[in-house]
């Protein structure tokens, strides 16, 4: 556990050292992402009324929450650090450490969360003053606490869903396109682009069974009081089950991959 937190601490310090670059990207990315979603919502509600089960303010709050929440879930997203280590041969030194390579990489992802958490506080502080709590939304200390639990599981699930794709680096020289594909699918089926309740009714069962909902939409629905305690427990159970499935797939790929790993850069 000490090694885990040491790795997390080193990564957190590293992230905080690139301040100008980091903050310029963070601010522009947040403002742009929210800006596009904001105008889409305004255009959708141009005729007034409700869209699905959302009021205009409710949907705006949903997008603010999901954009901020997705930063916690994704953390060191699209950095294909594991794939790079395999491809460049840097995995070799980790194999000598008396610790699990994947656990150390997850510690790095946790460390990368520190500047993200600062962002969330700074970027999210204005929300209660501008949007308030729209009708039909019930944010309470209990839903906030439940949301934190869902976000923690979502962060792990995101790491686990990316892991098998990164391990493809044992065979392929370049698997970044797989991770981009993962990002596209996860954003869409995870409710980051549009609330999942706006999807057709025939797709709802599949959306609930797939892992993507538990990455983004589920923690936000929990925060906004749109999930009952029973649904919350069931949702967490599905997410943990998916973590287990992806861990099993990753272990199988890891076993086969390390058999042919040469350690000198693939």
């Amino acid at each position: 556990m000490n090694v885990f937190w040491s790795f997390a601490g080193v990564e957190a310090r590293k992230r905080m050292s690139y301040r100008v670059d980091f903050w310029v990207n963070a601010v522009v990315s947040f403002v742009t992402e929210l800006g596009v979603a904001w105008f889409i919502v305004l255009a959708m509600f141009a005729g007034g009324g409700r869209v699905g089960d959302f009021s205009r303010e409710g949907m705006l709050l949903y997008f603010v929450a999901i954009i901020l929440g997705s930063r916690i879930v994704r953390s060191a997203d699209l950095e294909w650090a594991i794939a790079d280590d395999i491809y460049n041969g840097a995995l070799s030194r980790y194999l000598l450490y008396p610790a699990n390579f994947v656990v150390l990489k997850y510690a790095t992802q946790i460390g990368a969360l520190l500047p993200v958490l600062i962002q969330i506080v700074l970027f999210g502080a204005w929300v209660p003053f501008v949007l308030g709590i729209p009708e039909g939304i019930h944010v309470t200390p209990a839903t906030a606490a439940m949301c934190l639990g869902a976000l923690a599981v979502a962060n792990l699930l995101h790491f686990m869903t990316c892991l098998p794709l990164q391990l493809v680096a044992f065979w392929a020289d370049n698997c970044w396109s797989l991770l981009v594909a993962h990002r596209i699918v996860a954003s869409f089926l995870g409710g980051l682009l549009l609330p999942l309740s706006l999807f057709p009714s025939w797709s709802q069962t599949a959306l609930a069974a797939l892992p993507f909902r538990y990455l983004f939409a589920f923690p936000v629905d929990v925060l906004l009081g749109r999930v009952s305690p029973v649904e919350y427990v069931a949702g967490l159970a599905v997410a943990v089950l998916w973590c287990g499935i992806f861990a099993g797939i990753s272990a199988a790929i890891w076993r086969r991959g390390t058999l042919q790993y040469t350690g000198v850069g693939m």
Binding site: Y18, D21, V24, N25, V28, S29, T32, E33, G35, V36, F39, I40, L42, A43, M44, A46, G47, V51, G52, V168, W171, A172, D173, N174, C175, S177, L178, V180, A181, I184, V185, S187, F188, L193, L194, L198, F199, P200
Partner: protein
């Protein structure tokens, strides 16, 4: 000009043969782009289940807009994306040395040397989707109007590439891993939405200072509403201005470029 075309022919031959050596990546990237097209179409299809108009456009018009966007994206993915991705790495490693001593434009060489053969498959798909969106459009669209639309989209592609490079070239001064590339990718989201949804100062910025709305949205507006001289000059002027700014920054960047120590 003939010399540059011949040189580009060599780039193509080399890129295609290299792409075939890395077969995994070849198919991964095709799959990735297919997913990107599919998710984009599904996103708008879902939106239009809940609203008849978005920024003044109906679903048929939005599909034509999407087709245009796929085309612009496919051209840049095929011709320039690999190069823009590698450029900051080259600058930080001192690789431009090899190109600066050659008797051709270093900007031409470093911008176009890697042709993405796998994305060319996606380019063909994008052309298919573009043709499908135009064919299913219920209104009258003449061959002349479509040719004009394609021409404006090519100008939009030039504008898009120039803006992309303008955000990458600060790497000469910043020495970061990608210049301001992440900032560009964030702002590029505005290219992927019809400009009609934006209002107020955001809309004004998107057609002037950061002209992302001119890349696909304005050409699509010209297709539906007719091309005026004002609109043409606006798009062409922005593309030319962005290209000139890019060339200016490139020259300034080369002046401060200090080889491998950059």
């Amino acid at each position: 000009m003939i010399r540059y075309l011949r040189l580009y022919g060599y780039f193509l031959r080399f890129s295609v043969s290299r792409a075939m050596e890395f077969r995994f990546d070849f198919f991964f990237r095709i799959g990735m782009d297919m997913l990107w097209y599919a998710h984009h179409l599904a996103f708008f299809w879902l939106l239009y289940r809940h609203t008849p108009l978005l920024g003044g456009w109906n679903l048929d018009q939005l599909l034509v807009f999407s087709g245009g966007m796929f085309l612009v994206d496919a051209i840049q993915m095929t011709m320039t994306a690999n190069n823009t991705w590698m450029l900051p790495i080259y600058v930080n490693k001192g690789d431009p040395d090899y190109y600066l001593v050659r008797p051709v434009s270093s900007l031409f060489f470093l911008s176009l040397r890697d042709f993405a053969a796998n994305s060319f498959i996606n380019f063909l798909m994008a052309v298919g989707l573009f043709a499908w969106a135009l064919a299913r459009y219920p209104g009258p669209l003449g061959a002349g109007a479509i040719a004009m639309y394609v021409g404006l989209l090519l100008l939009g592609t030039l504008l898009h590439w120039s803006l992309h490079m303008i955000f990458i070239l600060p790497v000469f001064w910043l020495h970061t891993s990608g210049g301001l590339r992440e900032v560009f990718w964030s702002l590029d989201r505005y290219t992927q939405r019809p400009h009609g949804i934006f209002t107020g100062w955001v809309r004004r910025v998107l057609v002037s200072l950061l002209p992302f709305a001119l890349i696909v949205s304005y050409p699509t507006t010209a297709l539906f509403n007719g091309l005026t001289w004002t609109l043409f000059l606006h798009i062409a002027g922005a593309a030319a201005a962005a290209f000139l700014v890019l060339v200016w920054i490139w020259k300034r960047g080369l002046r401060v470029y200090a080889s491998a120590s950059s």
